[in-house]
Symmetry: C2
Subunit: 241 residues, 2 copies
DNA sequence: AGAGTTCATTGATCGGGATCAATGACCGAC
DNA sequence: GTCGGTCATTGATCCCGATCAATGAACTCT
């Protein structure tokens, strides 16, 4: 069973319309609109495929349909997942620098990729668009910082609890005072995101299950029964003195 | 002996002039310039002081003089340094949310703080400014992602080597084919930035010294003799196939 | 539906970095 | 200078999560 399934076929204008609804300001000039539409490179990828191999220039990618992970590749098969991006999200994918980045589909995806430099040049004449992009980049920065806290100072249990709470807020659906979560990513993806191993992820999920905080069904469905206690176990920074 | 010493006194117009030179576009309208100057709250802080306690709203802070660290506070005295910001840098300091943030002076500092919402509102009419801010926020995001890689997938030795190389690029001065580094932060700050303990930092520095890659003098001076080998030990992600 | 493959779970052992403890170096104040 | 306090280094031990190994569950394909 597959959730968040991508439509079998979507035309490019339909995809661009999703982008327009999600990102563009109401009062956008027609000329800029058309230039933006011409600039966008449309792409689709099946589950597991790399949407965008690390290129020579920064990209701004709009995820129209599906779910993706932004991955940094390390020496010796080490991988770090820098973030998950879902339908409606805007991702900044850096060019290959000191490290190498790829955007990888967790499910069948449809996306629009813009070369960052041209995108910003075009956006300079549209303050509303530039502002919207800035807001979303600040949001990415905020989440990246949260990840730094998680990776730098949290125990395995706190990391997994934190992950579940965060994902619930983004893609969960309320259910009986708790929250139902269909995880589009594998245990390996979680491990690579949290700086742990799949074995540790599995053990911590078992522990949370035995503590009665979550229930699981199959590989990808998690029911957060007790979000309050779970949040407490996430070791969120306290409102200290 | 103190490096990067702050001038004994700096007038507010002088500080704002630094901000103008570093951030503002050439063709900025006078009206916007004046409103921006009125919006900025000037602050100074001595070494070790919190410049900006976590407030109720996001702040955009320009570091005019000195050096700072952005710190997230965790339950149980745990702290995570999210980044270091030096003279000329622009920092986004989030309001207290799930976590609590403070900007803390590593040396005597002088800064200009803007409420983020009003700042962006004002910047909407100045595309050049908005664009400059966006570029700098993207840079912060990029560094934050690098930190995620470091915290998630690197060994203690790689983290310390990585830290030295990165700092050298930002505040080092070339010397005899290597690089001379005056670190404004303590071992504790390094530890809190790298997700390690001060003891581990110390041991790794010793190891790098015995390997002939660095020389140290006092607490804060590090001479990177062999940047190439150091970079190799930093475990930077390879340009893998 | 059954076979095959991938993915997740559970158990046993190992090791890197944390923790605990003590000494030593640096820096500021007088 | 030297006195005092803070900060850094070094050593001994411990523990959490990694690693190695095997079983079991879930999804895919025909």
């Amino acid at each position: 069973m597959q959730y968040h399934r991508a439509p079998a076929t979507t035309t490019f204008p339909e995809l661009f319309e999703l982008f327009v609804q999600a990102i563009l300001p109401q009062d956008m000039a027609d000329a800029a609109y058309l230039r933006l539409q011409a600039l966008g490179r449309y792409a689709s990828a099946k589950s597991g495929e790399d949407v965008l191999a690390d290129g020579d220039e920064d990209q701004i990618v709009f995820v129209a349909v599906g779910a993706t992970k932004l991955v940094a590749h390390a020496s010796g098969d080490r991988e770090q997942v820098l973030g998950f991006y879902f339908a409606g999200d805007l991702v900044s994918v850096p060019a290959r620098g000191a490290h190498s980045y790829t955007l990888c589909a967790l499910q069948d995806c449809e996306l629009i990729a813009f070369p960052a430099a041209e995108f910003f040049e075009l956006a300079r004449s549209e303050a509303g668009l530039l502002n919207e992009v800035l807001v979303r980049v600040l949001d990415s920065l905020s989440r990246s910082r949260e990840k730094s806290i998680t990776l730098g100072r949290k125990t395995a249990q706190e990391r997994v609890a934190s992950f579940l709470v965060t994902m619930a807020a983004r893609i969960g659906t309320p259910l009986e005072g708790g929250c139902l979560l269909h995880l589009p990513m594998s245990r390996r993806d979680m491990a690579d995101s949290l700086g742990l191993t799949i074995e540790t992820i599995s053990r911590q999920l078992t522990e949370l299950r035995e503590a009665g905080l979550i229930e699981t069904s199959g590989r990808s469905v998690v029911h957060l029964c007790d979000s309050a206690t779970l949040e407490a176990r996430a070791g969120h920074l306290c409102a200290a003195a």
